[in-house]
Amino acid sequence: MNRTPRATVIRAPGTNCDAEMCRAFELAGASVRLVHIDRLIERPSTLEDADLIGFPGGFSYGDDIASGRILAARLRDRLYASLRKAAERGVPMIGACNGFQVLVQVGLLPGPASGEQWPQSAAPAQRCALTHNQTGRFIDRWVRVRIEASTVCVWTRGLHDGWSDQSMMLPIAHGEGRFVAESPDLLASLRQAGQVAIRYAEPVNGSDDDIAGICDLTGRIFGLMPHPERYLDWRLHPFWTRLDEAGRSGRREPPGLLMFRNAVAAAAEVAVS
């Protein structure tokens, strides 16, 4: 690609992690456009030139009824066709926290099974959910996570080893983050197909299989409850004041930023091919 990949970050009333997601894309080398959902609904073609799409965290529409519900309902109804085309073009997408809750309810995750296509007219049925934490309470803390070696996820490429327990951490901040699949079969097929991208390495919210994030079969659409966009700098690590430089991130950039770099690189590959 001989131009800078363009990221579109979608916001709605109550979205509140948009600034840091925009920053993540920018630091990773993309140019960023922040678009209000109402403008997209007015002009769905806006998504046609997006090389990457971000669904940030927050409390879209106050999370009234349930987390992400209203935004997801609007996306299913009004923008599915554009999102499907983007998915078919291989546009990397990320939903963090509220964004993940939205992607799951829209049906963009876990996406079509092997050998199947995205349904043409209506959005796919919802197959998994993010529901109330086992404790019944909103929780904000940094947790240890594990990137699955077997995952097909492009966002987490190369991140599964070379990290100390202390450096491979991400912050969570959610009340409804417990991952539930519609059936044990779905869970098994997600695992088998490498769609389980990231797991909690400690008890967090009671998720099936400790799942923190999943991707579609192409590995390009990625949703997770933790916030990688809050870990763009080693000084955001929860106890960086006690780690030497090697302990902080092994002299690499923090995993949060590297995820965005992976995606921007993958977007560039698509544009070339």
């Binding site: 009333p13 409390f59 803390r141 699949a181 809050r230 870990y231 955001l236």
Partner: protein, 1037 residues
């Protein structure tokens, strides 16, 4: 009857009134209201769970129901309906409660439903905002408000005598003093007519204690009961203070208390060269320079009385209001952090029983003890009050939901427990914002439009300003339920998004000034903005939540999430476009200009309703007509000597001793004392609260509230980066030293104030902030200052603010007071009990961190380090420590060692210690730093180990056992810090040079860390694991 709940099923109920067919309803249920994987749904009321009692809880008509509003608009979009289609939604909760049989096995039969309803009414609902319905709730139709015509009402005041004026003030909920009522009467006599209802209300709102701080601005005559000799012997030096006159009889006249103390310190510091304050005391928040381009602003508010009645809504709207203050500063700031401090009664010492028994009345006749003796058992809640556990749980939920939804990290706070906060909890909400330096000041231009943005106006929150200025009585919940508000954070978020675009999307902002609608609603906001140019307001133009509001209600409603902007008419179209895009409602209420009949240099405020003038007030009278009150303040030096010297309470001593009580039994061993202190609610871990707040949103929290490898350590201050990617940071912390000023133990609010400022500065310095760039705020919460003794203690606190700010060179940039915090209970027999809160002064501080890479946290980092104390307390150096006023004394008493100290903070060595600490930390000489506060030195050390030690890499410490007795370990000296330093060479070569070059500083190595996971002090030894347990369990709710 006591019954237990065996199980409970909760169901969300959506009541939808619209002309829809079954298919449409099913579509709403499946596509919008439920999750196909985790939920089930029913149309109409489902069967009850067998053996259960069904109870439903619904908001009362008119109470804000944000979910209902969202559901309504989503249904319209989902079904493709016309926006004008009549459709109404309400939401509620249904509980299927399966009650256990009572212990003695008899069937409780129909009593079960009663018990369930009673339980729901007490625990799941608040009668102020909810109704509890037995069985499924299926109303035939929603209640409708019947609009009726309002005619202009005049209220006769010109003929009233004093008694009549007083009656009018009380019955009309005006809460104005006789002098103020007389001033109003005389003004209307002068202009030759009676006021309209809306004029009187406008004056009451604008002149409320809440809005004008009349006590703090009054002329105060302060007397020491000892007369001349008391003043001259006072540790507080009265001579030479600005705005103070020493009278021949030994009294002191203070002309405008606030101006002569808190504000005087700031203005003197500015004239002495503090050049980084940008706007102090005259905007909605205080503004300081952050760097060359950027400014930061801060405001801290209280929302005590609304939180006493409806803790969730009260705290949420407290947070929301403070956030709006920041948004409405200058030409608009972006909120970037919240703070919260709560003062509540001890949750374990009260129980829900109805009414006070005679024994309890006697027990509390002389007041309420800060901390009951456990053996007395819990007391019955005073009538009309909520249980402190419920208050705390709900205020936390309120602050959490508002801050989290707005996307503002809540990064700093504290909780303090004292039984005198029963019925009158304190809820402090703070907000910090960031703005470009060229947007710090706005200026309303003549001819600008008055534009209201945001939420609609309803009856919610009417009389909030006057209510907050009144004393609480146990009937308050009935009388003032209309003062309660429920917030809708997303509406405020939309308003914020719109305002920032209106500020930034073009070279210059689309508005010339803005302010929020807080206490007093439009009346205060328009009155303030139009103060010098006048205003013409058409009240029927305000968008309403429901029809039927009178013009007065529109004018004074404190409905949430509203801002008022002054907009040049040429910019209106552009602003309307932005608001439409952000989904924000906008209404042009009128114009900022002098209405006909008044002049530009003496403009009026004119209120019109459907073209008819319903009110007209001179801006000059409105803002300057309030008579300056004269107040008497009384202080007794003797009270600190005569009353029993300490909150003596021996462990295991069954006599109810507390602060007026008997001498202590044998003191506990140090070994026994430490875990008890760590479990004291004021000290115990508040992770249960902190982890419910999103303190990471914005991705800029570099030092978080909980620190250390397991996220357990109680950090001294939090640090955020206001400018993304910059290395400069902003530290946020607070200081609260209530016991030192507690009249119940002979405390002195002057000493308390100095200690609170010192503590706040220490907290900031401990993370790496520059002590020469600290800005502070005062929040006074006092019992009624109509009582001269209470005003006396307020005066002393205010003098402490002056001395402390000057000594630490930390200017006050903003503040707020709440001066009627007491609860009066009238008993059946006609007697009454007044519970006064202890005078409470919260000092909140922000400070610049020059380079966040140099930040330090309080968790012990490694085995083998030296642990040392740096102290600017002369008492520490002289080994002359006292236990008076400490948590130790509250728990164990302090025997004969209980002199109330004359001085607490040394105003030379205290600030010097802070500067020395900053040199050590910014020089990279310190691995960790922590201030010695509640619980004392040993608690501080234990906290550092709890924070730094994990089961994988345990850290312990051995302390010198020749330091002395309990007093050294459990005293709470001011200006004292604990440090972890790598090795003796650094101490010798660097640390001593810095410390010894500072006069008045004391330095001592007191121990060494190791990898044992044990804390050892002579023969006392504790495992860090067990200390962690003692510290984390009490409030692990």
């Amino acid at each position: 009857m006591r019954v237990a709940v065996r199980s409970c099923t909760a169901t969300r109920v959506y009541l939808i009134e619209a002309d829809l067919d079954r298919l449409q309803i099913e579509r709403i249920a499946t596509a919008l209201l439920t999750d196909p994987i985790t939920e089930e749904w029913n149309i109409d009321a489902g069967e009850s769970v067998p053996g259960s009692s069904v109870v439903e809880v619904h908001p009362l008509p008119g109470v804000m129901d944000p979910v209902a509003l969202s559901v309504r608009s989503s249904i319209v979009e989902l079904l493709g309906l016309d926006h004008a289609v009549p459709i109404e939604v309400a939401t509620g909760w249904r509980y299927d409660l399966r009650m256990a049989e009572p212990e003695h096995g008899r069937s409780i039969g129909a009593g079960v439903d009663d018990a369930a309803a009673d339980l729901a009414a007490r625990l799941l609902a608040n009668p102020v905002i909810h109704r509890v319905v037995r069985g499924p709730f299926q109303p035939v139709t929603f209640p409708r408000v019947v609009p009726h015509e309002h005619s202009v009402v005049h209220i006769s005041v010109r003929g009233l005598d004093d008694a009549g004026l007083n009656r009018l003030s009380r019955d009309g909920h005006l809460f104005l003093s006789l002098d103020e009522m007389r001033a109003i009467r005389d003004e209307y006599r002068r202009i030759g007519r009676d006021p309209t209802d809306v004029e009187l209300e406008t004056l009451a709102q604008t002149w409320s204690e809440h809005c004008v701080h009349k006590t703090l601005k009054s002329t105060v005559v302060y007397r020491d009961t000892e007369g001349q000799s008391g003043i001259s012997k006072d540790v507080l030096k009265w001579r030479g203070r600005p705005g103070h006159t020493l009278n021949a009889d030994g009294s002191v006249t203070i002309h405008n208390l606030l101006k002569s103390t808190v504000a005087a310190a700031t203005h003197e510091l500015i004239s002495e060269g503090v050049d980084w304050t940008l706007s102090v005391f005259n905007d909605n928040s205080g503004v300081i320079a952050f760097d060359d381009q950027t400014a930061v602003c801060i405001k801290v508010e209280t929302h005590n009385h609304p939180s006493a009645i409806e803790p969730y809504g009260g705290a949420a709207t407290g947070a929301g209001g403070c956030i709006r203050d920041v948004i409405g500063t200058g030409l608009g700031a972006r909120p970037i952090a919240n703070t919260d401090v709560f003062c509540v009664a001890h949750p374990g010492q009260w129980e829900e029983r109805t009414g006070w028994t005679r024994t309890e009345r006697q027990r509390f006749a002389q007041g309420v003890d800060p901390w009951f003796c456990e053996s007395d058992g819990p007391a019955a809640l005073p009538p009309g009050t909520l249980h402190p556990r419920r208050v705390l749980t709900q205020v936390v939920a309120g602050v959490r939901d508002y801050g989290n939804r707005m996307g503002i990290p809540t990064i700093s706070g504290a909780v303090s427990f004292d039984n005198r906060y029963i019925g009158n909890p304190l809820v402090f909400c703070g907000c910090i914002g960031v703005m470009p330096r060229n947007r710090v000041k706005g200026c309303v231009q003549r001819g600008d439009l008055i534009v209201a943005l945001g939420g609609r106006t309803g009856r919610d929150g009417i009389h909030g300003a006057t209510f907050s200025s009144a004393e609480l009585e146990h009937t308050a919940a009935d009388e003032f339920s209309h003062a309660v508000q429920i917030g809708n954070a997303i509406t405020e978020k939309r308003v914020l998004d719109a305002i920032l675009r209106a500020r930034d999307d073009q070279p210059e902002p689309l508005y010339s000034g803005l302010t929020d609608c807080g206490a007093g609603g439009f009346s205060s906001a328009v009155g303030e903005l139009g103060k010098s140019v006048g205003a013409v307001v058409h009240l029927e133009r305000a968008p309403l939540k429901y029809p039927g509001l009178s013009y007065t209600e529109v004018w004074i409603s404190e409905a949430q999430e509203r801002m008022v902007l002054s907009v040049p008419s040429s910019n209106l179209c552009a602003l309307e476009r932005i608001c439409a895009e952000e989904g924000v409602e906008l209404a042009v209420l009128g114009e900022f200009r002098a209405p006909e009949g008044s002049t530009a240099d003496n403009p009026d405020l004119q209120l019109l309703f459907k073209g008819i003038e319903v009110g007209r007030l001179s801006m000059r009278f409105l803002h300057d007509g309030i008579p300056t009150p004269h107040r008497e303040a009384l202080w007794s030096q003797k009270q600190s000597v005569e009353s029993e010297p300490s909150p003596v309470r021996a462990a295991g001593n069954s006599s109810r001793s507390s602060h007026r009580g008997s001498a202590a039994a044998a003191a506990p061993s140090i070994r026994e004392a430490l875990p008890r202190l760590l479990g004291h609610p004021n000290i115990a871990s508040k992770h249960w609260i902190v982890q419910q707040y999103d303190h990471e949103v914005r991705g800029a929290s570099v030092i978080k509230p909980l620190v250390g490898p397991a996220g357990r350590g109680p950090g001294d201050a939090s640090v955020i980066c206001p400018v993304a990617g910059a290395s400069r940071g902003l530290a946020v912390a607070c200081g609260l030293q209530t016991p030192l000023g507690d009249p119940g133990i002979g405390g002195d609010p002057y000493a308390m104030t100095l200690a609170a400022i010192d503590e706040c500065v220490r907290n900031l310095v401990c993370v790496g902030a520059d002590p020469d760039r600290v800005a502070i705020l005062d929040n006074f919460c006092w019992p009624s200052c109509k009582k001269p003794e209470n005003l006396g203690s307020l005066v002393r606190a205010a003098e402490g603010c002056y001395d402390g700010a000057k000594a630490y060179r930390a200017p006050f940039v903003s503040g707020k007071d709440s001066l009627n915090n007491q609860l009066t209970l009238t008993h059946d027999d006609g007697t009454s009990t007044t519970i006064e809160i202890p005078p409470t002064l919260l000092i909140t501080g922000i400070a610049i961190v020059p380079d966040v890479a140099r930040c330090v946290t309080m968790d012990v980092k490694r085995p083998g380090s030296l642990l040392a104390v740096v102290s600017g307390s002369p008492r520490f150096a002289a080994d002359d420590l006292y236990l008076w006023g400490t948590i130790y004394a509250q728990v164990f008493g302090c025997g004969g060692d209980c002199e109330c100290p004359q001085t607490v903070v040394d105003l030379k060595s205290g600030p010097a210690a802070a500067r020395a600490m900053h040199r050590l930390i910014s020089g990279g000489l310190v691995r960790s730093a922590h201030d010695v506060s509640e619980g004392g030195l040993l608690v501080a050390l234990a906290e550092m180990l709890i924070a730094g030690s994990t089961s994988d890499s345990p850290i312990g410490a051995v302390l010198d056992d020749d330091m002395g007795d309990s007093a050294v370990w459990f005293a709470e000296p001011a200006s004292t810090y604990v440090l972890e330093i790598e090795d003796a060479a650094i101490v010798r070569q660097n640390v001593r040079t810095i410390v010894e070059s500072t006069p008045g500083l004391h330095f001592r190595v007191i121990g060494r860390s190791n990898d044992s996971g044990m804390l050892t002090l002579g023969r006392s030894e504790w495992s860090v694991g067990s200390l962690t347990k003692s510290w984390r369990e009490p409030l692990d709710w």
